[in-house]
């Protein structure tokens, strides 16, 4: 350990500041023992904006989304500026390029040549989800907020008991992990599924609709001259008609399946992040000092994996949507 830096005046002051800050937090935690389990709400709470009748419903995940956007745009702008500098590339530039190249290489391994078309959207999904999950464990998320009087419904019903109950104060945090709101994850999932359809049309053109309107059989229509006569002919024609109908209905069902894909996407991400948040609240309530570090580490891991999963599944669905189906009919 390099302790020489501490011996300078600046190092000394920094050390004293750190000790005072940590000691102060410790003292506040010990001397104010009214530890309340924070109110865990499935829906994102609205931030009470002063002087505004709730016309603007700003949920408290929105500032977290802004923070993530700020970070991503900041990295982009800083990279752009570092491109104009002369001389050997700086470490920041090498790091950004390394990350981008790693993602592109991974996608090329998985999908092949089409990775270039899909790269912007898939990489954005990965970076946005991962960074917003990681921002969710920054100090201040879920803890800094306003206390709002929360009248329970039974107290409001009976006026006489209202004063005896007192007002229950509920903490509405200003920041909440961005993906812990079903709207965010639903938006991401809808964009993912819609983009799959868009890429399908862009790469395949109009034949993409053959996936959904698939009234075809596996064998071509039999020539009237060489067709089988009698009972065999009737049965084979009937079988062909049934096959066409079944294929068609399965094709129409594919439309519904595509739309249903939105649900697992959104609920997987929401469930993981919200459960992680609840876990962190409860663990910090139980013992706030060294123990939650393990769970913060778990949240880091889970945040990264969920971003990776979302991006990979999106990539796989894009790849499926842009593969033409000509090879499927030649099975029998």
């Amino acid at each position: 350990m390099n302790l020489k830096a501490v011996k300078t005046p600046r190092g000394c002051l920094t050390l004293i500041f750190i000790v005072l800050a940590v000691g102060g937090l410790f003292a506040v935690g010990v001397l104010r023992p009214e530890a309340r389990l924070p109110v865990i709400s499935l829906a994102a709470e609205e931030i009470p904006i002063p002087f505004q009748d709730p016309v603007l419903h700003v949920p408290n995940t929105l500032p977290s989304t802004w923070l993530t956007m700020l970070i991503l745009i900041g990295i982009g702008v800083a990279y752009r500026r570092s491109l104009r500098k002369e001389g050997p590339p700086s470490r920041f530039r090498v790091a950004v390029e390394g990350v981008a190249e790693g993602m592109l290489g991974f996608m090329q391994n998985a999908v092949g040549k089409k990775a270039r078309i899909f790269f912007p959207l898939v990489a954005t999904f990965f970076l946005f989800i991962t960074i917003s999950n990681w921002c969710g464990i920054l100090p201040g998320f879920g803890s800094i907020g306003v206390y709002v009087a929360h009248h329970s419904e039974e107290a409001a019903a009976t006026e006489e008991h209202a004063e005896e109950h007192g007002e229950e104060l509920e903490l509405i945090p200003f920041f909440r992990s961005a993906n812990a709101h079903l709207s965010t994850t639903l938006a991401l999932a809808v964009v993912s599924v819609a983009a799959a359809q868009y890429f399908g049309f862009k790469v395949l053109g109009a034949p993409y609709l053959n996936k959904y309107l698939n009234f075809k059989a596996s064998s071509p229509k039999p020539d009237p001259a060489t067709a089988k006569k009698g009972l065999e002919g009737i049965i084979s024609k009937f079988a062909r008609v049934v096959e066409i109908l079944v294929n068609g209905i399965v094709g129409l069902l594919e439309i519904i399946l595509e739309m249903l894909k939105v649900l697992p996407f959104s609920f997987r991400l929401f469930g993981n992040i919200f459960a992680g948040e609840v876990l962190l609240f409860v663990v910090s309530f139980l013992f706030a000092f060294i123990f939650p570090i393990i769970f913060l580490g778990l949240e880091l891991f889970v945040g990264l994996i969920q971003g990776l999963i979302f991006a990979m599944l999106t990539l796989v669905f894009f790849s499926i949507a842009t593969t033409s189906h000509h090879g499927d009919e030649s099975h029998t």
């Binding site: 391994n109 997987r268 469930g271």
Partner: protein, 79 residues
Amino acid sequence: MWPEGLDAVTQAATAFTIMFGVIFPAISIGWIGSKAMEAIGRNPEASGGILTSMILVAALAEAIAIYALVVALAIKFVA
């Protein structure tokens, strides 16, 4: 006898939902892991691709457990 707060049926429903909901995802993730280990053992060169696919499929299986968790939370917090 019952704790205060939500009534007994809601609390029991919450507990049983998450209890039974994670049994099968747990078994399936263990199965996926074991098959992945076998595959890596047979072909150590492909271990990168196998690992990636294993993580992908394990996350899909875990999503089912997450649905059970979300339903349990919805029962508990949205009465």
